[in-house]
Amino acid sequence: MRAELAAFVSSVGLLVVGSSPAMRPVAAQEADGRTVTVRFEATFGDVPVSCATTYRDIGTSRSSVAITDFRFYVMDVRLVRPDGTEVPLSLSVDDLWQQDDVALLDFEDGTQRCANGTAETRDQVEGRAPGGLYTGLRFRVGVPFARNHRDPTLQPSPLNLTRMFWTWNAGYKFLRLDLRTAGQPQGWVVHLGSTGCTPNTTPLEVPTSCRFPNDVKVDLSPFDPDRDRVRVDLRALLADADVDVNDPDTAAGCMSGREDGDCKAVFGALGLPFGDAPGGTQRVFEVARRPEGAR
């Protein structure tokens, strides 16, 4: 018992030292630190995403679309100081929307066409960061590799939602946007996740790496976390896609398949490489500027 206790104390000590850049007592850190809430909004252009709304002029065919699901995971959230240095946002663990390294954003409310969803919605990521001024925000859309390939039935919330399972591909959907469109009333979807995952060579183990991680890198600046919001603009996501047709012999819409022509436009908007396109800067997440003093 004594040895276990000592080991526990020392590991706690290590943790404190490791997470405390200023090497100051925890209490002082807490006093200096602050809660940061990064707020998100999901839109088609300027119109908020809702399960009850139909959106027009979407994609190259100027289609009419309605959502039946829209959720995504974010990880690796960092705040950027004016001098360019990054500070990780230490996510608060609520065992519902957030674990320490991953958070779920959820813009469906389980009503109307979104009946397979959940009543709860989520439009923010909460955490703590050292006090001070922040002028930028960086994060990735995705699930940390170490969590992405474990048995999902053993994972805590929000990684236990079956709608986000991508079991055949040994991982999670990082982002799921399900649409009904004028031309594809049965569904045209975007299911983003890692592909090309190399199987491990030992029994009962999970992939060791994925050739196409497909996590989306977002870098927003200037961004004031006390005032601005992150807008995820689905009109921009689909701007170059034709959501009224489906590439023959492929999944409905884009389920991240490398042969699926429907993925080219979507991956391009997300800044992900696809085919001959090298990838670049994503065009879907942007800063929604709020008037001075507004939340």
């Binding site: 397979n116 969803g117 959940t118 390939h149 048995d151 999902p152 039935t153 053993l154 236990n160 939602l161 079956t162 709608r163 399972f165 079991t167 055949w168 591909n169 040994a170 299911h191 592909t195 090309g196 995952c197 190399t198 199987p199 060579t201 030992t202 029994p203 009962l204 183990e205 999970v206 992939p207 050739r211 196409f212 012999d249 492929t250 999944a251 409905a252 389920m255 398949g257 490398r258 042969e259």
Partner: protein
């Protein structure tokens, strides 16, 4: 109603109390293995128990495991078909046609890799999530339905007893992990090794016909090369069991398609390639067990060959040629084809002999074994899945 059932319940209850009081380790699970079969490898986090197997059998056959209460695991894995379904391709609960032929579950406990061509599927526990929650295609259609699923299971008092017996240490045993563990435990019991061939191997020379014996010699010959991919006690090279230290997983391109002259298979059935996106993995699929193969027609990952005779013709030709249609091509010319699929000549008698040998791998006890049958069937043959009231409660009233 208070007869043997009540007595058994009392006995089980007593046994549980005794076991809990003594804190003894759970009794070692007793496999009923055919002679010569090794013990299956079981994940350390899901040791076999009779209680988990019983729960898993009820879940496997329960249509409440589908979105509209019409499909169960057993819809596409029917005991009479050695737990395949006789269809060319499976059809899901919403009408989605699966790109794949339903695999038989014969001896699935010995498979270190699951489904037709997915090197990442290593555990029955996680594989079960694919038919339950998969959306491409929709099979049981449970994605996003987990709350409703648990409400349905909780409403049936029979499940309360089954799941508490299977997971006695859980405060609330109704978890997805427990459901998949139980289904996996039941699936691991689906062991088949009592065919005429097995009786022949055990010394009963008359168990196989003369034709089947000649077919056996052909099967294990360098002329046909069948055994390279279908060898071993399970007639599939890819096999695992307790105590085996090496992991062996094989996938093969058999030249079934060659749609582009470069060995291409039609999308989405591209085999391991669909997972790894490595061009060398195009068309690589797992060699299924040949045990009970006569009961699992049609054949191949996409059910595109109807009979065993036609399967042999494919291998005789060293790869299938499709002369027309969108998938046309000369499989024999595929640069990705396994070196063992080199073609051979059979006389009509030899072809008959080989089919007779494959028929001798049929284990009739497997498809009639009551332990693997539907537990929800009443004595009058009707299902009692949706009769939720507890029989002993009803009797007392």
């Amino acid at each position: 109603m208070m007869g043997p059932r009540a007595a058994t319940l009392v006995f089980i209850a007593l046994a549980c109390v005794v076991a809990a009081g003594q804190r003894t380790a759970p009794a070692r699970y007793v496999w009923d293995l055919p002679p010569g079969f090794p013990e299956p490898k079981v994940p350390p986090d899901n040791p076999m128990t009779a209680e988990k197997v019983a729960l898993g059998r009820h879940l496997f056959y329960d249509p409440r495991l589908s979105v509209d209460g019409t499909y169960s695991c057993a819809t596409c894995h029917r005991q009479v078909n050695a737990f395949s379904d006789g269809r060319r391709q499976a059809v899901g609960v919403t009408g989605d046609v699966h790109p794949r032929n339903s695999m038989g579950l014969t001896n699935v406990a010995y498979s270190p890799v699951l489904t037709w061509g997915n090197p990442t599927q290593r555990r029955l526990e996680t594989q079960a999530l694919v038919p339950m929650f998969g959306e491409q295609p929709i099979e049981l259609g449970l994605s996003g339905q987990e709350d409703k699923l648990f409400a349905r299971l909780r409403s049936d008092t029979r499940y309360g007893a089954l799941i508490r017996a299977a997971f006695p240490e859980d405060a609330d045993p109704f978890t997805l992990g427990n459901i998949t563990k139980a289904i996996a435990s039941f699936e691991r019991t689906l062991i088949s090794g009592r065919s005429p061939y097995d009786r022949f191997e055990a010394g009963n020379a008359s168990a196989m016909s003369a034709s089947a014996k000649r077919g056996l010699s052909l099967f294990f010959s360098e002329r046909t090369e069948c055994f390279h991919c279908h060898g071993g006690f399970n007639f599939t090279q890819t096999v695992d069991y307790a105590g085996k230290r090496f992991l062996e997983i094989e996938f093969h391109n058999t030249g079934l398609y060659n749609i582009d002259g470069r060995g291409g298979y039609p999308s989405p059935n591209t085999g391991v390639y669909a997972l790894t996106n490595d061009p060398r993995d195009m068309g690589r699929f797992k060699a299924p067990t040949l045990r009970n193969i006569a009961m699992t027609a049609p054949y191949m990952h996409d059910g595109s060959i109807a009979t065993l005779e036609e399967v042999l013709a494919h291998y005789e030709a060293g790869g299938r040629t499709l002369a027309s249609g969108p998938d046309k091509g000369v499989g024999a010319a595929s640069p990705l084809k396994s070196g063992f699929v080199k073609g051979f000549m059979l006389t009509p008698t030899e072809r008959r002999d080989l089919v007779d040998f494959l028929d001798s791998l049929t284990d009739m006890t497997f498809i009639s074994d009551a332990r693997f049958s539907n537990p929800w069937v009443r004595q009058d043959g009707r299902l009692n899945v949706f009769e939720n009231s507890r029989p002993d409660v009803r009797a007392r009233r």
